[in-house]
Symmetry: C2
Subunit: 363 residues, 2 copies
Amino acid sequence: MTAPSTDTADANAKLAFPIIVSIDTMGGDMGPAAVVSGCSTSAKKNPKLGFILHGPQDELERLVAKRKNLAGRCMIRNAAGVVTMDDKPSHVVRNGKGTSMWSAIESVRARDADVAVSCGNTGALMALSMIRLRKLPGVNRPAIAVLWPSRNPQGFNVMLDVGADVRADADDLLRYALMGASYARNGMDLPRPRIGLLNVGTEEHKGRSELKEAYELIGAQADAAEFDFVGFVEGGDIQGDVVDVVVTDGFTGNVAIKTGEGTASLIGDLLREAFKFTPLSRLASLLAYTSMRRLKKRIDPRRVNGGVFLGLNGTVVKSHGGADATGISAAIKLAAQLSEQGFNDKLAARVARATALAEESKR
Amino acid sequence: MTAPSTDTADANAKLAFPIIVSIDTMGGDMGPAAVVSGCSTSAKKNPKLGFILHGPQDELERLVAKRKNLAGRCMIRNAAGVVTMDDKPSHVVRNGKGTSMWSAIESVRARDADVAVSCGNTGALMALSMIRLRKLPGVNRPAIAVLWPSRNPQGFNVMLDVGADVRADADDLLRYALMGASYARNGMDLPRPRIGLLNVGTEEHKGRSELKEAYELIGAQADAAEFDFVGFVEGGDIQGDVVDVVVTDGFTGNVAIKTGEGTASLIGDLLREAFKFTPLSRLASLLAYTSMRRLKKRIDPRRVNGGVFLGLNGTVVKSHGGADATGISAAIKLAAQLSEQGFNDKLAARVARATALAEESKR
């Protein structure tokens, strides 16, 4: 982390756009130029968007000045401090004031922006978000939800938690189901999403004890919360068409997404090698170029770039650390979509209703 | 499970081959014909192999008679009972006598065969193996180890546990590391395998408490047990080249392999679709045919078909339930290789030495 220093002179100024996205321009591998370029791409596509950019004022002013379509649509909040990928979350919580990440979350807390986007250190971003935005009533453990390429008609599943916390008890898993259902409803336009609980077998007697308990809890809330509970699902169902939302603890979910990404990357490399192997296959690769591009686009993680932090008083989108302008723009698009639909307020209401229902059934 | 009835008239007969593989011919999706066909393929490739086939005598005699190269190399043990994929392990342990699975394990227990192969119900096979073969001294939880396509020079990593038990404490994880090292040494000819412990980050402070404890235990045994401990690894390293053995609990490992298989299968389907999309891409797919076959072979799960049960008094290879003759033959090849090298005795000695060392260090 570098030494913090914040200029809040323009803190009271407001941008007149329907959707304001607060953006941490530092902490990603590609630097603020890629972030500003991503904002420019998003601004072209969506006229409703305005941006609050957090980072080094001079550099951001220079970068924004180069993009004509960003004129009048950005506000810059100077924050010289940077949270690095190696900073421990606990350290950032204590000393992070004045960093671009802290400042970006602060804009959501102050309601200057509807949603924050950062490609920085995930652990630090979650820790800061929890401390500054606070958890929603009824939520003990917030979760990170991602979209995952699948055989579903919509092309993606929601999976959560993928790494906010390494533990989750049955009550947490129920909250994840409710939050995931809200996300699928608002982020993917599915009126009645199908929810599955990740396990090592689909039989009811299998798996860890907290999963059996969560199975009962989630099943009992399905009707009231308007989702279909399909029961236990396995790792092979994450890319399938039996569920829209996969619920799991953050340890398992994190291993699963990284395993899936690693597998896709290995196959991609082997595919490239295969195409280079003979003159005939090199010719084939030329002919198949557009088909391959289409496939690559279909499973390109940059297109669905953005883990969403759920269960907080405010929405935070975590973009991939290595995201380029295309990736940043995808994260902004997701943030804007959730913000426009008043997603977080709906989610909060849903969790509150479920909590009340659970309390009632205990009486 | 169907009604059992066993004929042990030929129980004292012996086959005069250096390696005897005991084979459960029932319980797989493709039936005994595929299993016998797989034996025939293996017999052609390896003249050292003899087989004890367990299942319905009449049908097996008919199937074996059709394969000239199996003449004199098979012994048939009649077992009319079949363990189905839906049978609960506890039920099979109580009532499984007379099934082909029980009978196949019995041949290893009686030392008539060196190793057993089955494509039946994994849970039942593990439960029966534990009850009949018993755990090795020093092993509390046996594990299932699989080979996984990776960027390693040998083309594969070992991962364990992938589903023998949903729990594992720090001591279990240490045993998995030792057993995985033995497997990599004997099954992949790696004199000093690199061991990694699966976690959600590579930093030492991350993850669950039992993982931090296991980290210390495994690191302390690395020199004595002749492996390199690379520390924590992530889901994306399973297909990488930083480790030869990935150690994890059976819940996480099971989700990881199924996620990896599901991802590979989705990409395969999308690839086929992409090639069908335009006349040009259809032409490309013809030109790329041999390259694609090469790629498919490289990541074909049938080539490395076989999870190995480690930590028992005897080796059991679990073949995929949907395995065809090629898959069965791969499982038999693996079984033969491990058997030939006296793998299980070496593994037992290694675990015993490590247990003594750990006891000593506690004094």
